[in-house]
Symmetry: C2
Subunit: 175 residues, 2 copies
Amino acid sequence: MSKESYSIQEAILYSHKMAQLSKAIWKQIEKDWQNWVKPFELNLNEHHILWICYHLNGASISEISQFGIMHVSTAFNFSKKLEERELLTFSKREEDKRNTYVELTDAGKELFEETMEAHANGTDKNTVMQASLPLKDLYGRFPEFQDLEAIVKNIYGDEYLEILDRSIASIREEY
Amino acid sequence: MSKESYSIQEAILYSHKMAQLSKAIWKQIEKDWQNWVKPFELNLNEHHILWICYHLNGASISEISQFGIMHVSTAFNFSKKLEERELLTFSKREEDKRNTYVELTDAGKELFEETMEAHANGTDKNTVMQASLPLKDLYGRFPEFQDLEAIVKNIYGDEYLEILDRSIASIREEY
């Protein structure tokens, strides 16, 4: 892509707007997420790991790192804490000895399901979802953000959206 | 807004997708931003404070906190560090003695302009902008994200978007 396809002004305006909007949205999601899982003595990273392992039916540390957008060491250290609480187990797979795989124990699955129940009973505390309801009323459905998806795909690769699709399919089956 | 206007499944699918997309975008912006301002011995919060004060022509600590989406104490502490480097000054205003106002010194303005020059010469390192170029080629302009704006407005109030508009107008004048 040549530099001539955009002006410096356009680039700065766009970057500035994207930074302000995505920081605003993410910080609110982070706050709500923390408040949601705190009663279960989990932090956001720990809950994100449970989420990923639950919906992907087990995952490698590198999948957790990639899809959870956390360092490999963060993914490993928080998984280790969850293992100490007997919420998950580590294993190696015969066909792939280099990666460590993580699977939820029954206790891990139960705890995750409890958090989801709390969410279902407390959607009024989900600020971003609540703030999106006027758009849902307008369109008849929640916004799809296909532009954002395209940008994320260009940055993180097709695999990221594939994992997102798998986790969405798993949620669809669940409810 | 009554609970009946959406199903639990819809709410969870939407929240999950929003969390994954906005975390992905924000974490990449954060990374690029840190790499961009590091050579100037600034961190992201410090640069955001310079940015806000530059484009709003001075700002109160509470405006910095609100628009920068950082705690008031974070806004104050990093402003203090910038004051120690003589990049900005604190003052009170006659008509509003309760708030502390921050204004950039000439050195602060110069440093900020240098960072912007570095950005203009290094837009190839702006991952999110680069990842948006295929959309720009498709639409003829960068995506506008009006849905996101509406959600941010519902969460943070009209004032947030007003400040965004003021900073965008200031960038337009600049280039």
